[in-house]
């Protein structure tokens, strides 16, 4: 019962215009933490442009998820996050939710909802402007179904979330983020639970949507190979600070692997011309 990739139609299934044209997300001096514990300090990035994928990399505990949650407005923040010049920090969850959508690492277990019900719920619970309350139940169902079809998982519409395989769950979670017509798409390890085939499918889908809709997409990845292959821009965090950013080819270097991850490794092109990152051994000390 795999996910069949289908060619994506030219428009959002939701009948929206490609809102992302010329989008820009600017992050400057962003400091984030939980309570008194600061986790990310003074992160400033080059402007993230619509239609591009930014991969957030770094070892465990570097602050990758924290940065995503901060951008989504789930943490108290200092600094500046501007979407097309509009300051996002300090705005209500509802106001942010109109533009930004965030996908946490996993769906909770033991939820008695079908894929379709969850999607309709996600849509109807959203504030007006992000598709929400304003749409009727029938419209919400139509939009949800169109999206499932586009993602190639319409056959799962009436299956309970708890009966899905790991990969299908990930797709269902992704659909819940996409159904809200985001301009900024924040994904926390969308490929973590997936086998090789699903990893490629999900990343290709994210790439396609990002290009077509002009989304600002930020993805936390652990797999440097996937990052090298799919990201347009790479941001490397380590110990709560920005360690490097730039194009994959210039950023992913043996020096970075040693410095940030503490491993010796190589970065080479394979016979197909893809950038490959290989970790050889942990460095002593």
């Amino acid at each position: 019962m795999g996910v069949q990739q289908r060619p994506l139609a030219g428009t959002w299934p939701l009948g929206a215009q490609a809102t992302g044209a010329g989008l820009q997300l600017e992050i400057a001096g962003l400091t984030l933490g939980y309570g008194r514990r600061t986790i990310l300090r003074e992160v400033s990035l080059a402007p993230l442009a619509g239609g591009h994928i930014t991969a957030l990399l770094g070892p465990n505990g570097a602050g990758k998820s924290t940065l995503l949650r901060g951008l989504a407005g789930l943490l108290p923040a200092r600094g500046s996050v501007k979407l097309n010049g509009q300051e996002m920090i300090g705005r209500s969850l509802e106001a942010r939710a109109r533009h930004i959508t965030y996908m946490p690492q996993s769906l909770p277990q033991g939820v008695a909802l079908t894929v379709m019900e969850a999607l309709v719920g996600a849509l109807k619970a959203s504030p007006p402007g992000a598709g929400g309350m304003a749409v009727s139940g029938r419209q919400a169902a139509e939009q949800a179904l169109a999206l499932l079809e586009q993602l190639g998982i319409a056959h799962l519409a009436l299956v309970g979330l708890d009966r899905l395989s790991g990969g299908q769950r990930q797709m269902a979670g992704l659909a819940q983020a996409l159904v809200r017509k985001p301009e900024v798409l924040l994904l926390d390890e969308p490929t973590s639970a997936l086998d090789l085939r699903y990893q490629l499918q999900v990343m290709r889908l994210v790439q396609q949507l990002t290009r077509e809709k002009g989304l600002v997409t930020v993805v936390v990845l652990h797999d440097l190979g996937l990052a090298a292959r799919f990201a347009d821009h790479i941001v490397v965090l380590g110990e709560g600070t920005l360690r490097a950013e730039g194009e994959p080819e210039r950023t992913l270097t043996p020096g970075l692997l040693a410095e940030v991850y503490g491993v010796s490794g190589r970065v080479e092109r394979c016979s197909l011309g893809h950038l490959q990152v290989m970790a050889d051994a942990p460095l002593a000390g």
Binding site: G35, E94, T101, L107, V111, L113, A125, M133, E149, A157
Partner: protein, 353 residues
């Protein structure tokens, strides 16, 4: 399982429509069953009235007179309606609690609301302490309600103080259960024999305290809560997808939780105040509803209320039949009737989507 799988989008669309229809029909079936149970509850009792007599009085209450009318209108009908209202209120409260606390074991009973009400009742019964200006006949109910209501607010502020998450809230609730129970035990220890007996009977739960004014208050509590429940339904559904996800949808989870807990304290407060502690309904009503209609809260919340109402109403019937000539306290019957029903439900529905 193959029936649940749809190959094409149009099949998925019609499948979803028929799913909604099925759930609506299930709700309707529950309503019908509840009406039947209510009628059965009014028709049964120690004084052997014929069903025809009972229906006659119900259909034309103004024309009825004499002992039959008194038994039906002033004794049986209030009990039966109270069973429905209390069962519905406790199960609805339990359903909202389980969702906003993300814990399948949450219920007014397990998180200290009922224990708090018992403490309030014990204070009234043993020490005669109560809210000033409340008439003597309402002292017990008033106390029980006040304590139940305050316990939820206490729970809320404890967890706020600590800035703690949902897990801590559940732990605080369990701690409160023990604290209240200890305080009740202390009062029992110093109570006179007569007061002790009254307290034990109260804590078993009984519909015999039902009167029309109390029913009016229960109905009012429902009327206040239902519009807010309905408004929150989509957001509660979204909350089931995870708090962070719901937050990123723009759902203010904190506000949602506060609103739900306020409704929980009102519904469970009036319930335990009027009939004593009936624990099982608030826990099991929601689970039964979840097995029947899933967790789309448009269906889940009404289904939980209906399941709870049905369970308590059937328990009320059973409480009259269990030992001939004796009205067994409903709190005892609820668990005895409810557990087998619930286990059967889990076995028959648990394997399905």
């Amino acid at each position: 399982m193959s029936a649940a799988l749809s190959a094409s989008p149009s099949e998925a669309a019609s499948g979803y429509r028929s799913l909604l229809l099925r759930r609506t029909l299930l709700l309707a079936a529950l309503v019908v069953m509840l009406c039947g149970s209510l009628l059965l509850d009014v028709a049964t009792g120690p004084s052997r009235l014929g069903l025809a007599d009972v229906v006659g009085v119900l259909l034309n209450p103004s024309a009825a007179s004499g002992p039959v009318s008194v038994i039906v209108l002033d004794v049986r009908l209030p009990y039966a309606i109270m069973a429905v209202l209390v069962g519905g209120a406790l199960a609805l409260a339990g359903a909202e609690m389980q969702t906003v606390l993300n814990n399948p074991l949450a219920s007014p009973f397990t998180l200290g609301v009922s224990s708090a009400a018992s403490l309030g009742a014990a204070l009234a019964i043993v020490l005669g302490v109560g809210i000033p200006w409340v008439p003597q006949s309402w002292l017990l109910s008033g106390n029980a309600f006040l304590f139940a209501f305050l316990s939820v607010l206490l729970l809320r502020s404890l967890s706020k103080l600590r800035g703690a998450g949902v897990e801590a809230l559940v732990l605080f609730g369990i701690a409160l259960v023990f604290a209240f129970n200890a305080a009740v035990a202390l009062l029992q220890f110093v109570a006179t024999e007569q007061a002790l007996q009254q307290l034990v009977f109260w804590s078993m739960g009984s519909l015999a305290r039902a009167t029309w004014p109390k029913i009016g208050i229960m109905a009012l509590a429902f009327a206040v809560c239902i519009p807010f429940c309905a408004r929150a339904a989509w957001k509660l559904t979204a909350l089931r997808l995870g708090e962070e996800r719901a937050l990123s949808f723009g759902v203010d989870a904190e506000k949602l939780r506060n609103g739900a807990l306020l409704r929980v304290s009102l519904l469970s407060g009036v319930s335990v105040a009027f009939v004593g502690t009936i624990g099982f309904v608030g826990l099991v009503g929601p689970h039964a509803a979840r097995l029947l209609v899933g967790e789309d809260h448009r269906f889940f919340l009404p289904a939980a209320a209906l399941c709870g109402a049905l369970l308590l109403s059937l328990s009320s019937v059973a409480s009259k039949m269990m030992v001939p000539g004796l009205l067994v306290p409903i709190g005892i019957v609820t668990a005895l009737v409810g557990v087998p029903v619930f286990i059967a439900l889990v076995f028959t529905r648990g394997r399905r989507a």
